[in-house]
């Protein structure tokens, strides 16, 4: 192991050890909270837009491919570009960041909820109708519970992506863990950059684990452990 690397690691440990970094406005807890806040608000707004679209199209079976293609094109637009663009339109503030993150959050949730709804066995769909369920009952008692694992997988993908990308908020002067990356790069303080990177990675992993747990909780017992298996 070379000296530069051990130097860097020592720097990181010193950074984490410094009590000044654990309280006050620019501290690790404060930036983490802000970061999580950006992620939550963007994912929730994204879900409010994406899930009704994906679920609605999947339920009716119409126009789904079009929606998926449009959201996939959206996926190709870089979030950084969106931030700059909206920043130029509305100026400083939360809006450019949230717009970019929401745009990032939407495609996986649209695609997954659409596919989840489409993959409900046509025989099951037909049975629910033939047994005399109303349209609403078919949606809420049969199709949604069956599609739930895939819908939640989409939410999970979006949330993790947004969690990592929320670092961009720092570029337009906001807080969040991106602060450490940008400040560190500017000051050539590699220890600080690494601290930021480690924290973002940790948050993404925690998000993944928490949502995986949530996904399990909302998946009906009869559906657990049989994804992809033949009937």
């Amino acid at each position: 192991m070379n000296d530069a690397f051990s130097e860097l690691l020592a720097g990181v440990i010193r950074w984490f050890g410094d009590p000044a970094h654990w309280s006050g406005a620019g501290s690790i807890p404060a930036h983490t909270l802000k970061h999580v806040f950006y992620m939550l608000i963007s994912t929730v707004i994204g879900a409010l837009i994406a899930l009704p679209i994906g679920i609605g199209l999947g339920h009716s079976g119409r126009g789904g491919l079009l929606a998926i293609n449009i959201t996939n094109i959206g996926r190709a637009v870089p979030s950084f570009g969106v931030i700059i663009f909206v920043f130029l339109l509305v100026g400083y503030g939360l809006v450019p960041v949230i717009v970019a993150l929401v745009a990032l959050a939407i495609p996986p949730m649209v695609t997954n909820s659409y596919v989840g709804m489409r993959e409900v066995d046509p025989a099951v769909r037909q049975a629910s109708k033939a047994l005399g369920m109303t349209g609403w009952q078919r949606l809420t008692r049969v199709e949604l519970p069956i599609a739930m694992p895939l819908i939640m997988a989409g939410v999970r993908t979006s949330a993790v992506q947004v969690m990592s990308t929320a670092t961009l908020a720092a570029y337009v002067g906001l807080g969040g863990l991106g602060r450490y990356l940008i400040d560190g790069l500017q000051l050539r303080d590699m220890a600080q950059v690494l601290v930021g990177a480690i924290l973002v990675a940790l948050l993404a992993i925690v998000t993944e684990l928490l949502l995986a747990l949530l996904q399990r909780l909302v998946t009906a017992r009869g559906l657990r452990g049989r994804q992809g298996s033949a009937e």
């Binding site: 066995d121 025989a123 099951v124 037909q126 049975a127 629910s128 109708k129 033939a130 047994l131 005399g132 369920m133 109303t134 009952q137 049969v142 519970p145 069956i146 009906a220 017992r221 009869g222 559906l223 049989r226 298996s229 009937e231």
Partner: protein, 381 residues
């Protein structure tokens, strides 16, 4: 129609299903059903059969409004189905499909209780009904808490039937209910289903493409031809005895006569008492029986009065006068015929029989008479 059927119809007069000039056309111009006039009697099992694309499934699906007729009127008893709210109508009509269509996220018990829950039954009543149905369709009670994917195809099909019967609907629609299970399970399910129908007495409409199934299960069979018209609507025996067109003859198949035999049971005939001898008889006596009767052989019975084997004239001629019959080389029958067997089974047994007759026994295995080829042929006239 028997007298029993007639009283049944009076009791449930409201649930005959009547198609009056019903057509179904799709926006793209395809005609699924063309001007259908058909009355499906209450309390009977009507089978709709025909090649694929003949409109039989569309016809079925119009009864619970999964499809709406483009023309004509469809009545259930005195009610026009188009005037009944579709979801309310469907809750009064059981529906069984080819792939059970069970809800994968619900337990077997919850699947069965689907319609009762929609109808707002309380928990206790639902649970009692589920227990009843699990027993009725021949499932293990322990399966109630399982999930559909843990069951075999045959078991799933039983659950599908239980779910359809849950709210005790007067009408039951079945769309190829036995097509997706293997032949052995299918035969058992069909048999059990017939027994079940005898007990529950519902107006049942079943779609199949399998003419054997149609003939076996249907009180009446409607044979559809391509283009969505009915080629003939009749009882199985009438269809076989008097097919209305070449299409019907073709569809029923070249083995029409065999199918006719399959519809009659041995106990519906007056059997010949036949020529028999007890196992401890001596050859000389047996010879004189045979000479008197002018028969080619004799059925030897054991001490329980069960057929032991066949003894032909050639064998008797060669044997010593005082030999007991059971000391001779008796020829056994490969098939044992019971009174409840049908005539097709009898013919099958006759083909491989050592003599010109086959003995028929009752449920206890006691000899009751013999059947021969002439008797069978007479049934086809």
């Amino acid at each position: 129609m028997t007298r029993r059927d007639a009283t049944k119809e009076e009791e449930q007069g409201s649930s005959a299903i009547v198609f009056e000039g019903v057509s179904k056309r799709y926006p793209d111009g395809t005609v699924a059903v063309e001007h259908l006039d058909l009355t499906l009697p209450a309390g009977e099992l009507t089978v709709l059969v025909g090649p694929s694309g003949c409109g039989k499934t569309t016809t079925l699906r119009m009864i619970n409004r999964l499809e709406n007729p483009s023309e004509g009127r469809l009545m259930i008893g005195e009610q026009d189905v188009m005037r009944i709210d579709a979801t309310r109508l469907r809750r009064r009509i059981g529906y069984v499909m080819q792939h059970s269509g069970l809800f994968p996220h619900h337990t077997i018990a919850d699947n069965i209780a689907t319609v009762p829950r929609l109808l707002g039954w309380n928990k206790k009543r639902r649970r009692e009904r589920v227990d009843e149905l699990i027993e009725l369709v021949g499932l293990e009670p322990s399966l109630a808490s399982r999930y559909p994917h843990q069951l075999s195809g045959g078991q799933q099909q039983r659950v599908g039937l239980a779910r359809a019967l849950a709210a005790d609907p007067p009408i039951l629609l079945m769309d190829e209910p036995f097509a997706a299970v293997d032949p052995i399970v299918r035969h058992r399910l069909q048999q059990e289903f017939l027994d079940l129908q005898r007990r529950v007495q519902k107006t049942i409409v079943m779609v199949t493409h399998d003419i054997d199934e149609a003939m076996k299960l249907g009180d009446r069979v409607a044979i559809f031809e391509p283009g969505g018209a009915v080629a003939q609507f009749d009882t199985p025996s009438r269809l076989l005895a008097a097919p209305a067109s070449d299409f019907v003859i073709d569809f029923i198949g070249a083995d029409r006569e065999l199918r006719r035999l399959a519809l009659k049971r041995l106990d519906s005939l007056t059997l010949d008492s036949g020529l028999t001898a007890p196992f401890d008889e001596v050859v000389s006596r047996a010879r004189s029986y045979l000479q008197q009767a002018g028969s080619g052989g004799i059925v030897v019975l054991d001490s329980d009065h069960a057929p032991l084997g066949w003894l032909g004239w050639e064998q008797l001629k060669r044997a010593g006068d005082a030999t007991r019959l059971d000391a001779l080389d008796l020829q056994p029958w490969r098939h044992r015929l019971y009174l409840h067997d049908n005539l097709r089974t009898a013919l099958n047994a006759l083909i491989s029989a050592p003599g010109e007759v086959v003995p028929v026994v009752n449920d206890e295995g006691h000899y009751v008479g013999v059947i021969d080829r002439l008797q069978l042929t007479r049934q086809l006239v």
